[in-house]
Amino acid sequence: MTAAPPAGPGVVKTAPGPTAPPPPPAPRGRSALRTLSRALPVSPALVLLILFLAGPIAYCAYIAFTDLQLTGQAEDSFVGFENFRTAFQDEAFLNAVWLTLVFTILSSLIGQNTLGLSLAVLMQRASKPVRTLTGGIVITAWVLPEVVAGFLLYAFFRREGTLNAILDWLHLPSQNWLFTLPILAVSFANVWRGTAFSMLVYSAALNEIPKEITEAAEVDGAGGWRRMWHITLPMIRRSIGTNLMLNTLQTLSVFGLIWVMTRGGPGNRSQTLPLFMYEQAFQKSMIGYGTAVALLLLVVGSLFSVVYMRLLRTEV
C-alpha cells in the first residue's frame, strides 16, 4: 500500500546531496511514515470533500430509494425503485426531461457553441477596437451574477420590455415572450449569459492555429467556408469537444436564471429538471422523490463528466 517504488527515485535524487539527512536505504517503516507526512497537506481538502461533497452524493443515492418527506413523518422507509417508477409515469417529470433537452440543445449546443465560435472567428479578422468592445460586452454578460442576468433578461423579454419595443418600432408583431414562448426566452437568456465562455475557449484555440496553414489554403483559392470546414474545424476539434461538454454540464444545472425569469412557469412550461426537483422536494415536500430526480440528473452529469475526462485524458 505504501508508495515504495515511486519513492525510490526521490531517494536517489536527494542522496547525492552531501547534507541529505536520510540514509539512502530507508527502512520500510520510515518510508511509509514519510509518504504519510508528505500526504498530510492533502487532508484538510480531503476532509472537506468527503464530508460535504462525497457525503451528500452518497446520501443522495440512499434517500432516492426512500419515501422521505419534509414534514409529518416519523420515519422514512425504503421503497426501492418506487420513486423512479413514479417518475417515468409522471407527466410533469417527462415534461421536465423534454424541456431540459430543448433548453440544453437550443442554448448550449446550438446557441452558446455556434455563436461563441462565430464570434471567435469574426474576432480573428476584425479590427482591434471593435474586437475589444464586443469582447468586453460579451464577457460582462458572463461575469454578472446569475440572478442579475436573470433580471436583465426578464426586463428584456417582458411584455413592456425592450424586445417588444424594438419589434413595435420595426412594425413586427410583439408578444408576451415569457408567456407564449417561455422556454425559448430562457434559452436565449442562457445564450446571452454563457456565450462568452465558448468565445474565450475558441479564441484561444484559433490563436493556436499557425497562420501559414490558413494563408496557404487562401492562396490556393480555398474559400472561407471550405477553409473553415476542412482546416479550422478539424484543427480545433479537441476544443470543440471540451467546450460542448462544459457548456452542457453548466446548462444542465442552471437554476437561478430560470427561477428569476419564470419560476418554471407559466404552468410548468419552462420547468427544467432542476426546477422540477426543487418543486417536488420543497413545495410538495417529497424529498425522496425530488432526490430521485436529482440522482438521475447526477447520473447524466456524471456520464458527460466521464466523456469530458476522456477528452482530457492525455493531460493528466
Binding site: I63, V148, F151, L152, L200, L249, L297, E315
Partner: protein, 292 residues
Amino acid sequence: MAISTRTLKTPALKTPTLKSRRNSRRYAADAGLLFAAAAFVLPLAWVLLSSVDPEADLKVKVPDGLTFDNFDAVLEPDITFTPLLNSLILCGGATLLTVVCAALAAYPLSRFRSRLNRPFLLTILFATSLPITAIMVPVYALFVQVDLIDTMQGTIFFFAASQLPFAIWLMKNFMDGVPKELEEAAWTDGASSLQSLIRIVLPLMGPGVAVVTVFSFVMMWGNFFVPFMLLLSPDQMPASVSINDFFGNRGTVVYGQLAAFSIIYSTPVILLYVLVARRLGGGFALGGAVKG
C-alpha cells in the same frame, strides 16, 4: 478565351485582390461583431439607464431625467449593506478556506510522485464537472439532520467543498509551472515542505493564486442556489438571494431601485475580473485554464 485571360492576369493581380479581399472581409467582420455587440448590450444598457432614471420601466429608453434617488433609496442597512456584508462573509470565508486547502493539497500532488496521484487527480477532475445543483436537495436534508441548516459556517463549508475540485486542479497546474530546483536548495538547507510552500512556491506563483482566489470568489458571489437552499433567516441572506425581495415583499416593483441594486451588487465581481484579466495581460481566458 475567358479562362486564358484569367490565368494570365492572375499572377499580377494576386496581391492587390488578396489585400482588398482581406479589407472587405475585415469590414464584414466588424459589422458582424458590432451587430452582436448591439444585441448583447441592450440588457446591460437597461440596467445602466434605469438606475439613474426617476421613471424607470422595463425597456431601454433615454432617462426622463438624471437622478441618484434610486441609489439613495437602496443604500439602506437592510436593503444593501447587510446582504452585501453577508455575501462578503460567506464568499470571503469560503474563498479563504478554498484557497488554503487547495494550495496545501496541490503541493504534494505537484511535488511528490506517488501512485495515488493519478486516481486522486482523476477523481478531482471528475468532481469539477458534476452538476452541484443536483445534490442540493440531499445537502439540505443532510444539513437538517446535522443541524447545519441556516448557519453561515455550514454554508461556507459547503461552498468551499463545491469549489475545491476546480481550485485544486487549477492550483496544481499553476504549481507545476514553478521549477522544482529552487525548492531543492531550500530542502538541503533544512526547510520543511510547509516552509518551502509558503516562502518559495506560493510567492512565485502569485498570479496563479490570484486567479484561483478571484475565480472562486466570483463564482460564489454570483451563486444563488446554494444560499437559497441552505440559509433560511432573512438577516443572514447574501445579496444574491435578497435581491429577490424587490419582487413580492415590497409591493410594486420599483425597477429603478432594482437596477441600482443590481449595479451595486455586480460591481465588485466585474472589478475583480478586470483586475485579474489586466494583471495577466489579457491572457486570462478561463478556457485556457480549463484546458490545463
